[in-house]
């Protein structure tokens, strides 16, 4: 395999605390300290002057819709969207059709990944059969088939007893359990945050308390069993505080936040634009600030996009009837740079840590660092380049993004997986 020589980049590798201008070398898909003179001669050289070179970004929460919903996204298009956003490792959710609740479906996904993916796509399996919350899925077989975690994302296991058994059982395989925290009895028919905006708009509200109750439940069950629970897309200020206290007590919980929950609030819903409809919903400014504070002090472990493609015709509906979810992969880095670095004065290595080493660590993935010996997964971006995002021209098969048509600052220039450039791809 050819060698790679990235020259004059500002290399930021949070895992090894490196932040210096210099060169990066890769050989046979791995990071190396230097190249021989012969390899240097043959190496593909990339002039990265003015660019940041960070580990390829890691997203532990995406929906690639394959199998069964390939009109929205496929592993081919989703992985290209990931590459365009600087992501080199993504973890896809199992709420496909059929749900990924058995080894056969995982095998199907892995076959598609091998055939079609341009970045590393890792599957998760369901906690319960059909994500119905009644019966445990064959978690051991899922693990053997190659899942990196289990989750019923999109749904939440409502039975405390079943959740307790799921985490206890998964712990035997050292398999993390990720939970979409939502008490469904409190959110029947809900389509947005419950609060002043839902009162004004006459839409059914989804109260913070419905998340807080399940986050608390998970803290209690994790403390009781010693099993790891990862809380997906935290949206409520009190949930941040509950996780903060749990971590102080040494409970094995982790948590993620999405770019949209740190950038937007439910004020954006004033025109009933369904590109601001997702689950959990956008909440208030106080919640948004609490999530940013949680990312700052480490209560929240990482950024995850919850990239959730839906077609135009599915989203172009009455607000009540449109599906939940927005795209995230192609805008995440720019949004994080804007919200965390520019507006909230996070240092750039800190923000990148939340998108590289830390999400990889949550699931124990061999990703998120540029250390010698690591996979040569690299993201080169210009932190200052302004560009206008056009979702329709993006790599995803869908275009349901609240940022479409907006000017963003910070642009991915090159994405490299195992030493090969996967974005931009040469025209074939």
């Amino acid at each position: 395999m050819p060698a790679l020589w990235i020259r004059n980049a500002r290399v930021i590798d949070p895992a090894s605390r490196r932040d210096s201008v210099g060169d990066l070398f890769a050989l046979d898909g791995k990071m190396v300290a230097r190249l021989s003179a012969a390899d240097r001669g043959r190496a593909r050289k990339i002039d990265a002057r003015g660019l940041v070179a960070s580990p390829g970004l890691v997203d532990i929460h995406v929906h690639f819709r394959e199998p069964g919903q390939t009109h929205k996204e496929t592993i081919a298009t989703g992985s290209r969207a990931a590459a365009a956003g600087g992501f080199t490792t993504v973890v896809c959710m199992p709420n496909t059709t059929p749900p990924a609740d058995n080894a056969g479906t995982i095998q199907f996904i892995l076959d598609a990944v091998r055939r079609d993916a341009v970045v590393k796509v890792l599957p998760t399996g369901c906690i319960t059969i059909g994500m119905k919350g009644d019966t445990l899925a064959p978690i051991g077989s899922l693990k053997r088939a190659g899942v990196v975690a289990i989750t019923d994302d999109g749904d939440c296991v409502q039975s405390n007893e079943l959740m307790r058994r799921a985490i206890e059982y998964a712990k035997m395989f050292d398999l993390p359990v990720m939970d979409h925290c939502q008490d469904q009895s409190m959110t029947e028919g809900a389509v947005m945050n419950e609060g002043d905006m839902s009162i004004r708009l006459g839409l059914r509200g989804w109260p913070n308390a419905a998340e807080d109750v399940i986050v608390s439940r998970n803290v209690i069950l994790s403390a009781y069993t010693g099993a790891h629970i990862h809380m997906q897309h935290i949206s409520s200020a009190l949930s941040v505080e509950i996780v903060r206290r749990a971590k102080a007590d040494g409970v094995r919980v982790t948590a993620e936040a999405t770019p949209h929950h740190i950038a937007l609030t439910d004020a954006a819903l004033a025109t009933y634009d369904t590109n601001f409809k997702m689950n959990p919903p956008l909440r208030t400014e106080a919640d948004r600030r609490a999530i940013i504070a949680g990312l700052r002090d480490g209560t929240l472990d990482c950024i995850a996009t919850d990239h959730a493609p839906h077609t135009d015709y599915e989203k172009d509906k009455e607000f009540d009837f449109a599906p939940n979810g927005i795209l995230g992969l192609e805008t995440a880095l720019a949004v994080v740079l804007d919200v965390l670095v520019r507006r909230n004065r996070f240092r750039l290595p800190h923000a990148l840590d939340l998108m590289t080493r830390r999400p990889a660590d949550i699931l124990g993935l061999p990703a998120g660092t540029l250390e010698v010996g690591a996979a040569a997964d690299i993201c080169l971006f210009d932190p200052d380049e302004a560009w206008t995002y056009n979702a329709k021209a993006g790599q995803s098969k869908s275009s349901n993004s609240p940022w479409s048509g907006r000017e963003l600052v910070g642009r991915v220039k090159t994405t490299i997986v195992d030493g090969r450039v996967v974005y931009p791809l040469a025209a074939s």
Partner: protein, 315 residues
């Protein structure tokens, strides 16, 4: 005064001047309703489609009547007969109606925000006849019109709205209209149906019936929609009536010349004693009659809107 709105989607977006313009236009039309020949040729040759995707009696009849009084052709189109039952999207349904050369759409829909959504798709005027729990602007306009007929200016008047506020589009439209007109609005009912968040709309929130009704000039009752709230928001209709139903004793707390209003349909014996609903302070049927005049005004004004904004935006 020119009318510059193509659509009527909410009262929240109307100015006081626009509300007054609708009211004065409605006054003029109301005179016609008392004549032998109750028809004017104002909208002759225009076709209005009543797109009612949620059941309605009063509002639908009133819009129908209003359009006919203006000599428009009216086509009714309801959920059961439409292709929405076959999975057609609202966009497709609406674009088809426009392609059939309709001049105006009146829409009633269970989903909040759908009239706004339609107004962005269509070139023809869209009139909101009630969208979910969001707004019911013609109801708020006819209610305030009726109040003005009895009380004159609403400035400084005390209006109590009693019942299921949370799920009520009528309450929201009235809150917006009344606060713009200078009235003091108190919302009253069980805490589960009258959440504190309504204060952000400029109303007072109370769970004490006596203080809320004391010296009120108007009490507006809203239907208790037990089928929507299930059994979660209050224990039973019986308990609701015992705590918040309007009866003679409670009505005596009101200002002596206060009026009693209800947008209908009434649950007799639940939110209001039957006797009070039919009593001399009740203006419930006047509301219905005024509903025709107000809707004539809205259809007339929006059909003949002067798009000053279009001129401004092309400069």
């Amino acid at each position: 005064m020119t009318w510059t709105r193509r659509h009527l989607i909410t009262i929240e977006e109307l100015s006081l001047r626009e509300i007054e313009q609708i009211h004065s236009t409605a006054s003029a039309f109301k005179k016609i309703l008392g004549r032998n020949v109750k028809k004017v040729p104002a909208l002759r040759g225009k076709t209005i489609v009543n797109l009612f995707l949620e059941p309605s009696t009063r509002t639908r009849l009133a819009f129908d009547m209003a359009a006919k009084r203006l000599s428009a052709d009216v086509i009714a189109f309801d959920a059961s007969s439409s292709s929405t039952q076959k999975g057609e999207t609202l966009r497709d349904t609406a674009e088809n109606i426009q392609a059939l050369n309709a001049d105006m759409i009146v829409i009633r829909h269970a989903a909040a925000g759908s009239p706004l959504y339609l107004s962005k798709i269509l070139d023809i005027p869209v009139i909101n006849a009630g969208d979910g729990a969001h707004e019911h602007p013609t109801q708020g306009l006819l209610d305030t019109f009726t109040m003005k007929e009895h009380l004159g200016s609403l400035k400084g008047r005390k209006v109590a709205i009693l019942g299921d506020i949370l799920f009520s589009r009528v309450a929201r439209s009235n809150i917006h209209a009344l606060t713009k007109m200078g009235a003091a609005v108190t919302l009253v009912g069980p805490s589960t149906l009258v959440p504190h968040g309504f204060t952000t709309l400029g109303a007072q929130v109370s769970h004490d019936l006596k203080s809320a009704l004391a010296d009120a000039d108007v009490v507006m009752l809203l239907r208790i929609q037990h089928e929507r709230q299930g059994h979660r928001h209050f224990p039973s209709l019986g308990e609701y009536t015992s705590m918040f139903g309007l009866n003679k004793t409670r009505a005596s707390w009101l200002n002596p010349h206060a009026i009693i209003m209800h947008p209908g349909p009434i649950n007799r014996g639940v939110e209001i004693d039957s006797e009070l609903a039919d009593g001399e302070r009740s203006v419930i049927l006047e509301q219905v009659t005024n509903g025709i005049a107000v809707r004539m005004a809205v259809l007339y004004l929006c059909a003949g809107y002067q798009p000053e904004n279009v001129i401004a935006s092309t400069q």
